[in-house]
Each structure stands twice: as C-alpha cells, then as structure tokens.
C-alpha cells in the first residue's frame, strides 16, 4: 500500500479515537437522561487545561490524564447534583443551563490560562518514532488509538456485564419502571453524568496533547461531538464507534484531497442520515 494512504488511514484512526472518547460521553448522558449537555465542549477545554497545568507543574503526563479526567468527573457530578437535577425533564431549562455553564467555564478559563494556544507536552518516552512496515508514525498516536480502544472495551464491559450497566440500559428504555423496581435512578443519573464528564475530561487531555487548547476550541469540539452522536444515533455506543470511524477517515482524506472543504465534508453524512434515517445509524426511534 502507498505510504501516503497508510498515513492517511492512521490519521483517520487517531482522529476517530478522540472522536469516540468525545462522543461516547455525550451519547451516554443523552441516552439515559435525555440531556444534551451543551457544556460538553467547555468540559473538554477545562479538562485539557487542568491536564496542561499538571504536566506543566510535574512533567508527569499519565498523572495529567488522570487529573484531567477525574477533576471533570467530580465537577460534572457536583453540577448534576446541585443544578442540573433541578431542571430534569425540561428541555429548554436544560439547554439554557448547560449553555450558561459553558460560557462561564470558557470565560473563567480565559482568565486563568489566557488566550494563547497551549499544548500538553508529551514526554519523549511516550512518543517514540515508530516504524511499522516502513511507515514512520508518531508513537503517541498509537497510544491514543490504544486508549480509545481501551475505553470502548471498558464501557462495553460496564454497560453489558455489570448490574449498574443493566440498570442504565433499563433506564434508557423505561425510566419509570426501573425506578418502580427499586433502583435508585437519581444516583444512576448522577453516576452516568459523572462518567460522561470523566470521558470528556480525558478527551480534553488526549486532544490537548496532540492538538492544542485555546479559547474557542470548546465550540469546535461541541460541534464535532454533536455531529458524531447525531450520525451514530443518540444514545448508541456502537453508533458512536461507527460514526467516529467514518468521520475520522472522512476528515483525514478530506484534508488530503480537498482541504478547503474538509470542514464542510464532515456535515455531509450527518445531512444524509438526517434526511433518510433521522434517528441516526444505530439509534432507536425516540
């Protein structure tokens, strides 16, 4: 195979890994709670920034990944417990609340971390130049793909092999019955929202390490996340995997062959899917 095409595919896979981590959190929260968290992009930015500060202070990248993820998980948990639960079921209040939160996060981040683009420094031991079959590619990107696969597997295990997962899946289908059966649905809501925040916090650190963080990336990331889950079908984990893979390759090849239209290109599958299958590739009808 042509080296160039191989690199393009690898780029697409790296991008897909980030897309998946981004989208899975959002889709999970939506599937169960019917909440479109419009501060998802801001969570990403904040997680990345926190990771940046940790790397900057300690030089320890794995620690930054954990710190970025956990701090956003905690933040999301507190947000759900103190505010979001009050507007449960109300589409408009939820939308307004999460938009407001995203603006607050964006402005506070601007005040703390400034407007300059920042990148998390990846230590050399995590980024060796790897040559496989004559194709040289940054090792860190293989790690990103690995993390993406690992997260997908963990999510699958949690959702399909644990009691918690069973409750979550049941909640997706019929919330009332689940709570009537004695499951504490409130606790599950908070837990799922925290998990969703954990994922996007991780995505922030991962994304911030191979791209860059700057004010404004929150809205770009939110756009991507929405496209991913709309294409895949809101609430579907498998859908998120498939749509991330599609969009990753589309973006990668689009950038190579028609860079001018690459941004526009990622909306094409979404438009087609919305026209013929509005619930998304793997979504169930709402």
């Amino acid at each position: 195979m042509d080296t160039r095409v191989a690199i393009l595919i690898l780029n697409g896979l790296t991008q897909a890994a980030i897309f998946f981590v981004l989208g899975s959190g959002l889709t999970l929260a939506f599937g169960l709670m019917r909440v479109i968290n419009l501060s998802h992009g801001a969570f990403y930015l904040l997680g990345g920034y926190i990771g940046y500060s940790v790397v900057h202070a300690t030089g320890n990248w794995p620690l930054a990944l954990v710190a970025g993820g956990l701090s956003i998980a905690l933040f999301g948990f507190l947000f759900e417990r103190t505010m979001l639960f009050r507007v449960r079921g109300g589409d408009l209040p939820q939308t307004l609340l999460t938009i407001a939160l995203s603006m607050i996060i964006a402005d506070v981040s601007l005040a703390i971390w400034g407007g300059h683009p920042l990148t998390l420094n990846v230590p050399a031991y995590l980024n060796p130049r790897v040559t496989i079959l004559g194709i040289t590619y940054p090792g860190f990107r293989y790690i990103l793909m690995g993390i993406g696969v690992f997260i997908a597997l963990s999510l699958w295990l949690i959702l399909y092999k644990t009691k918690l997962g069973a409750a979550v899946r049941a909640g997706v289908d019929d919330r009332e019955t689940v709570s009537a059966l004695g499951v504490n649905i409130d606790a599950i809501y908070s837990l799922v929202f925290a998990l969703s925040a954990l994922l996007v916090g991780l995505a922030g650190v991962l994304g911030g390490s191979y791209l860059q963080l700057s004010p404004g990336s929150d809205t770009t990331i939110l756009t991507y996340s929405l496209v991913i889950i709309i294409l895949g079908g809101m609430g579907s984990l498998l859908g998120t995997i498939v749509s991330s893979l599609i969009l990753g390759q589309l973006l990668s090849f689009g950038l190579a062959y028609a860079p001018q239209y690459s941004y526009f290109l990622i909306f094409v599958p979404m438009a087609i899917v919305l026209a013929i299958r509005p619930q998304g590739l793997f979504g169930t009808e709402v």
């Binding site: 160039r4 690199i7 393009l8 780029n11 697409g12 790296t14 991008q15 964006a106 601007l110 400034g114 407007g115 300059h116 683009p117 920042l118 990148t119 980024n127 130049r129 040289t136 590619y137 940054p138 994304g207 191979y210 791209l211 860059q212 700057s214 004010p215 404004g216 990336s217 770009t220 973006l251 990668s252 090849f253 689009g254 950038l255 190579a256 062959y257 860079p259 001018q260 690459s262 941004y263 526009f264």
Partner: protein, 437 residues
C-alpha cells in the same frame, strides 16, 4: 398605586443621576472603540494588540491634547458578522469618535465597509488585507502598519533571486489575509526567477489535525521548501505535526509573516530553528527605540512584545499624537485625519515609518528573519537582512498593480508562466542590507 409612584421616583432619580454625571464630565473626552478577536484561533494576536495599545495609553496617562481618552473594548470572536454588529453598537450606542483594533484581514474588510459613510476615522492595527488601503480605500482610513503583500514580496524575491529556489509548496488558511500574503509572495518569487508556488488552502481554526495535509506533500518533486501560510493556533498545530511526521529532515519549512511570531513560536518544537520568514519587526532589533519599547513592554506585561503588540502601540501613539495636534478637539474629522498623516513616526520602535499621503498606508522596513534559540532555550525571530522604505505597492507601479484583481484563493496563478509578464515588472530594486547596519 404606591408601586407606580415608587417607579416614577426611581425614574426621576435615574434621570437626575444621569444628568449630574453629564454636568460633571465637562472636561473633553474622546471615546475610542477597539474591536478585536480576544477569543478564537487568533486570540493571541488580539491579546498582544490590546497590550500594546494599553501600554501607549498608559504612557500618555490616557490623555492627549487636554482630552481624556477612554477605550471601549469589544470582542468579535473572529467572526465578521459579530465584528460588524460590534461596530454598529460602538457607533450607535457608544457614539465613539475613533475606531481602532481589528486583527484579521476579513475583520478589517467587513468593518471597513460598514464604517464607510460614518465620518469616523478607522485606524486598523493588525488587519492587513491590502484592499483596505487600495481598492476599498476611503479617506477616513489611516493604516500606519502594513499590508499582507508588503513583507512577502520582499521575502519571495529574496528566496528566488538570492537563494536560487525555484519551487515552493504553500499550505495556507483560507481567507483574505493569507491570500494577500500568498499573492505578495508569488509576485516576488516569480519576479526573482521562481517557477512554481503550488498552493493548497484549508479552513481556519477548524482543522485540528494537519497530518493528512502534511502527508500529502510530495517529497520527490523538487520542492525547495514548504511555506506554511497561516498563523495563530493553526500554525502551532501545523508546525508541531510537521516536525512529528519527520518532514523537517525532508523539506525545510518556511513561514508567512505571522507563522513564527511570538508568543506562538514559544510553543513550537526547537527543531524549527533556522525557519525563515519576513516581517516588519525582528525580536533582536538593537535600536534604541526598540530596546526602550521592549523593556517597557516587558515591565508592564512580563513577556516579550510581538509585531502585533508593536503595531498596536504604534497605531495608538499615532491616534494620541493626532488628537494632540488638534488640541483635543476632534470634531473636525477630516482635519484629524490630515493631522494623523502628518504625525512624525520616525521614532517608531520597529524602525522609521512614513505614511503614503494618497492611500494612508505605511512605508517602512522589512526584515528577513530566521527562528533562533536564545540562551534560555526560548525561540525567537533573529533578523538577517533589512530592506528599507518598502511601501504597499512594493517595487511595482501603483497604477499597473491596481489593475490586477484582488488576491484571492485562485489569484495570482501558481506558476510564473501563467503570469502576465508586465505585472512582474519592477520600477525600483530592493536593497538587502545585512541586519543591524
């Protein structure tokens, strides 16, 4: 009943307070609107711009010619529609008397178009699309800074004429300022004997991963260099990925004027030491004016200035000096414009600046620079060559120059052979003087 009474009382009180402040502010006040992109992919430029302007204002104690100068800052998030909305707000609601700021090319063009009939001086600081002081010029515009093509013509000519390069692969951000930089670069490069500048555009600030574009650069077709014609967050990403994919060893990377500007260059890998670019400032200028400015700037903001901060500092000083010459009374706008064009800018930190009386654009030095590393490991732009007195038309005849279409995504053409030869005819010759002489 009582409630309405209370309401009326409040209104009365409000009117009284408002009236009172009006009486108290009897001293002259000039309101200056400042629109820039403080967020978004060019936020670092917006921030630097504000810092430069504030430094000039603080040095003048926010007064000029006995008038108090007050600034109203607006963030347009690098969105042209937002920029026009903000301009409208500044004009209608705040009743500003001067508009400045403007960081990107598109921003300048759209705000400039809105301000056309407002009889309010527009002083663009960093917005460099040449049409603002060429095809879309009107007398209320004074741009004492630069156009996109100005530095790039000097750069392109030097690369082909002196270094003997023939082919360049250019990847750029898809909007007016890089078009203009690319246009200037092509004219200069072809005039000096270059043959091809293959050009690829990508959307601004949305393309997070450039590795696919980079992987598509042909390494076996004799390209002398890859020109990244973009800036801000995109440039940091692009350069990082260029190095990571091992392209640095295959084809050298060069930049447009802003690619390696501070502070962005400080987040780039040290592998790019030696990368060439051209601008109207260089970080190691040793003139008294630059040293003084750099020290004052560093003292105020605890980091180094960039071209964006210098341009803002210098434009704000121009505004202040213009108001000074009018003794603080700027009700006569054409007189203020006239005063501004006569302001002495020979003491400008980046080198002497003169204004073209016809198009109100700057005539100034261009520096060819390379990325270097200082003792602390920090990257900066080190001057190599100076060309003096470069105007916005470069070495070309203004009339012939204006006959060409505006630079765009598809003009000028990518090869010298597709270029009408008369458009590459120069009426003057650049003198490349070793930097610092």
């Amino acid at each position: 009943m009582e409630k309405t009474m209370l309401k009326k009382l409040f209104v009365l009180l409000a009117v009284l307070i408002a009236g009172n402040t009006d009486v108290r502010s009897a001293e002259k006040e000039v309101k200056v609107g400042f629109i820039s992109a403080f967020t978004g992919v060019f936020s670092s430029f917006g921030q630097q711009q504000k810092e430069g302007a504030v430094l000039a204002l603080e040095e003048a104690n926010y007064t000029a010619g006995g008038a108090k100068i007050s600034l109203i800052y607006e963030d347009d998030q690098l969105d042209n529609e937002q920029a026009v909305t903000k301009a409208k707000k500044l004009v209608v609601q705040d009743k500003i008397e001067i508009l400045t700021g403007l960081v990107s090319g598109d921003e300048g063009l759209s705000v400039g178009d809105y301000m056309k009939d407002k009889n309010i001086p527009v002083i663009p600081m960093y917005s460099a699309s040449e049409d603002m002081t060429m095809r879309a010029f009107y007398p209320m515009i004074v741009r004492a800074t630069w156009t996109g093509a100005q530095s790039m013509d000097v750069f392109g000519y030097w690369l082909s004429k002196v270094k003997g390069w023939k082919k360049i692969y250019a990847i750029g951000q898809d909007y007016s300022y890089p078009y203009n930089q690319g246009g200037g670069f092509k004219r200069g490069f072809f005039r000096g004997g270059g043959e091809e500048v293959k050009t690829v555009w990508h959307p601004v600030g949305t393309t997070s991963d450039f590795s696919s574009i980079i992987a598509s650069i042909p390494t076996d077709q004799g390209y002398n260099a890859v020109l990244y014609n973009g800036a801000g967050g995109d440039a940091v990403n692009f350069v990082k990925q260029y190095v990571e994919l091992g392209m640095g060893q295959k084809i050298p990377l060069i930049g447009q004027s802003n690619t390696f500007e501070k502070p962005d260059v400080e987040s780039m890998p040290a592998d790019i030491v030696g990368a060439l670019s051209a601008h109207h400032t260089a970080d190691d200028l040793a003139t008294l004016a630059w040293t003084k400015f750099k020290e004052a700037y560093h003292k105020r903001w605890s980091h180094d200035p960039s071209a964006a901060s210098e341009f803002a500092y210098s434009s704000m000083r121009l505004i202040l000096r213009g108001i000074e010459m009018q003794k603080g009374d700027i009700s006569d706008k054409p007189a203020l414009i006239k005063a501004m064009t006569q302001v002495d800018m020979s003491d400008d930190p980046r080198g002497p600046v003169a204004l073209d009386p016809k198009y109100h654009s700057a005539i100034e030095n261009v520096y060819i620079r390379e990325v270097a590393q200082d003792g602390n490991g920090q990257l900066y732009n080190k001057g190599l060559w100076t060309v003096k007195n470069v105007g916005q038309f470069g070495p070309y005849d203004p009339e012939l120059y204006l006959k060409q279409p505006s630079d765009s995504g598809s003009y000028p053409p990518d090869t010298r052979s597709a270029f009408p030869p008369e458009t590459l005819k120069a009426t003057t010759e650049y003198q490349y003087i070793p930097f610092g002489q």
